[in-house]
Symmetry: C2
Subunit: 444 residues, 2 copies
């Protein structure tokens, strides 16, 4: 980071920071839904210290067992476990919303970074469960340790996924020797128009949840805990169609009207994930085994130009039919793709410079995509909508997967007429954590 | 509007516009869910011309009546009727998301404005029903008349609410004499830090839906239809907790962690709405009878400063308890508020400069609020989150309701330490439309 950047960060720190929940965070977790139910019992005080909970909950359970059971059942379905062999938010199901955040560290010692990661780990496990943070939510003379906007809301399948960028391995923390060779500096690609405000970061955090308010609460809480240790560098919201609008759960469409995700590998296929997503023992830095590399690209879609192109052009751009999602010439979304098949005119049915043909290539390079649409008001310089795709993908070695793929796309993709990459970052995501451990512990 | 503004608009127009669906829009409506179901029947082509629909739908209905019935039932619950005595989106239930858009007209004749409003009316009625727009969605040599991203999604309780701003009544369309006296130029308020990029507009459009992708589709479609007639001036997304995260439907919390909406009048109380929301015959301009005035204020919350204040300060700021939402000293959210009640120290339990005390006053001035939280990345000048409240309210006469209320708040509200108004607009919302009519017809 430039020294200018550092000064800006100092200023930012003064602006951003707020009373941290401190070491007492999470000592007495209380589910947000429990709180809501307690409130229904008489409102004698919602944010009780842990001491008061057992008694009132007991009384409440006796009075309304059925309600509690329903709530508990729906809560389990609403929860994705934070702890595990791998981090959540990678091969786990994709909730309806995304809030992506990049942080820059402002501390200077490895020990301070470790402490931050320990505090973030505790908080993230609690957020995934839908618990309130901390124990100072009912004391009038203290800032509440939980900011409260998610009180009463379900866990909403919250996942929080952490990674560290190339700058994390500069001279500051004495970790340069552990920088994975695969965590290269991202090369420039054809068509890049990157802006600093959506690029880079010492740490990348992907939050997903079925509720935007819950996702916001998570990022805000992490930023708060980071007080004095790290500042937000950039954030980006994202959405897809909700489960409510599409209970059948068809492949979601992107803002270009096309089904997006059809050709994605099956995240439930463990062998495949070991092959293309999870860093294996012997792949390089041992601390990365079980982790993966997360690439984030903020890609603006020139919606207005796209909307002027014909359906024929649009379908040739992707190599798929808009309505069914089937490969051109086919009729079913998931039917086999044959890039060699020619049409009546003797040319390939799926144009060689279509997005699918180029991204697929000979099929030997795969990535796991997990993108979300975004709508961020307007670009006031041009009067156009600032909308597009917050592209996120995971891969085992970006040098062999994302980078060569994007090099090909950046050069020849028909889609380039309609998109522009405005932000970019890559993060090495740690392996999963077991209870008692903390994110990054294999590195420290 | 300044001539500079006009030039910018011309440039914008060239950027923004895209092939409009044209006059054929909506001649052959097809529900987005019908499409999805058709796709399931064999994928022989989803976007059929109307001619093909009857036959296949018939066959499909016979094959799977149960499914269709379920879908129809859930669809009805998911639909808020566009036509009616009043516009939808005012006293109708508030869906989970907001997309607010302000447009500037680029045409010069009243007749062209009328045509735009007629096209927008047809489209809005179809969007509220979850229908695809237009009939060129299956012709390879034309731009699709529907942009497609909401295909297969439910109507999601979409409402689209139209109003016109003070600039609509300048010299351009010969309508100056019909400008309602109540549609004053908004005065400057204490604490305003308005930015042009979120202020004003000839036309204001509030879109609400239970799905962000559906809301986006609506605004994008309206902007597309406006090609050559109007350009987007600003947009702002908003959210609240979803029905999924809070099935019980408690009062939503704002990003300051407090329940927001408790003191709002009951939108189902028709007498009350006639009193405070709907312009009555004899109130002034006859064309506004059955309409209302919509005020939009983009209010940034200084989240980081708020999070450093104690629970006691926070509760004194609003005059309510954070956990229960009850007035200070009380225990139930909806219990009666007594601003005169003193605490043990002889001072009012609810501070006189608290937000509630000031907004409530002697109870003689009321408005109908319908705000949404927003999270729009970061303010890169300060490094702070750009998050807050997209405040929207409706009132019968802003000179007697919103303006005096905000004058008082702008001057003395304790909340001002933590918020800043960054955008502002006011629009005269037309009365409702009957099928065959169009928005604004009472004015033209
Ligand atoms: C705004 C930008 C982009 C849009 C709108 C987009 C959209 C799509 C669509 C509609 C498909 C076909 C359906 C599917 O298989 O999901 C697709 C496929 C794919 N895209 Fe993208 N994409 C974008 C950027 C990227 C980028 C940056 C990459 C990676 C460098 C990428 C990699 C892929 C891959 C690997 C496939 C699957 C190809 C196959 O094996 O069939 N896409 N994309
Ligand atoms: C970020 C800005 C604002 C926030 C966070 C906010 C929040 C709140 C909260 C928490 C309450 C108490 C619960 C309730 O009755 O809903 C409230 C009440 C109220 N607010 Fe605001 N508000 C904001 C701006 C405004 C503005 C600009 C106005 C109008 C000029 C306004 C008018 C009212 C009214 C009329 C009440 C009800 C008072 C009563 O009768 O009890 N608020 N607000």
């Amino acid at each position: 980071m430039s020294s200018n950047g550092k000064e800006r960060d100092k200023q930012r720190e003064q602006n951003q920071t707020s009373s941290p929940p401190g070491d007492s965070v999470l000592e007495k977790p209380l589910s947000r839904r429990d709180m809501l139910r307690l409130a229904g019992t008489g409102g004698a005080g919602l944010l009780l210290g842990a001491a008061g909970v057992g008694g009132i909950m007991g009384a409440f359970n006796r009075a309304a067992t059925a309600t509690v059971e329903t709530a508990t059942a729906s809560k389990a379905a609403d929860t994705i476990e934070f702890y595990g062999e791998h981090q959540a938010g990678i091969v786990t199901p994709a909730p309806d919303f995304l809030l992506f955040a990049a942080f820059d560290l402002t501390v200077s010692s490895k020990e301070e970074v470790r402490k931050l990661f320990q505090a973030w780990t505790k908080a993230s496990a609690a957020l995934a469960k839908g618990q309130l943070l901390g124990d100072s939510n009912d004391r009038l003379n203290l800032p509440p340790s939980d900011t409260g906007e998610a009180a009463g809301l379900s866990p909403s399948r919250t996942t929080i996924t952490f990674g560290v960028g190339a700058t994390f391995f500069d001279a500051r923390f004495g970790l340069s020797a552990q920088r994975p060779a695969a965590l290269v500096d991202m090369p420039a690609f054809g068509g890049d128009e990157l802006q600093e405000q959506w690029t880079g970061g010492d740490i990348g955090v992907q939050v997903n949840a079925d509720d935007m308010q819950v996702a916001f609460h998570a990022i805000r809480s992490l930023a708060r805990i980071a007080r004095g240790k790290a500042v937000l560098r950039w954030t980006q919201e994202g959405f897809q169609r909700t489960g409510k609008a599409d209970p059948a759960g068809a492949t979601p469409r992107n803002l270009m009207g096309f089904k997006d995700g059809t050709g994605n590998p099956d995240a439930k296929n463990t062998a495949k994930m070991n092959d293309i997503v999870w860093v294996q023992q012997g792949d390089g830095e041992p601390w990365m085994a079980g982790g993966t590399y997360m690439v984030a690209r903020r890609i603006r879609i020139r919606v207005e130009v796209w909307d002027r192109s014909t359906l024929g052009d649009q379908e040739a751009t992707f190599g798929r039919h808009r309505d069914s999602g089937a490969p051109l010439g086919g009729s079913k979304e998931f039917e086999a793709v044959d890039l060699k098949k020619n049409g009546e005119n003797g040319k390939p049915l799926i144009p060689v410079n279509s997005h699918m043909a180029l991204a697929r290539g000979d099929g030997s390079i795969e990535i796991l995509r997990r993108g979300y649409s975004y709508s961020s008001g307007m670009d006031h310089r041009t009067g156009q909508l600032d909308a597009g795709l917050m592209f996120v993908c995971f891969n085992r070695d970006p040098r062999k997967q994302f980078i060569p793929m994007q090099q090909k796309l950046g050069q020849s993709d028909r889609l380039n007429e309609y998109i522009v990459h405005t932000g970019s970052a890559m993060f090495a995501c740690f392996p999963g954590v077991q209870p008692g451990g903390y994110i990054g512990e294999t590195l420290f």
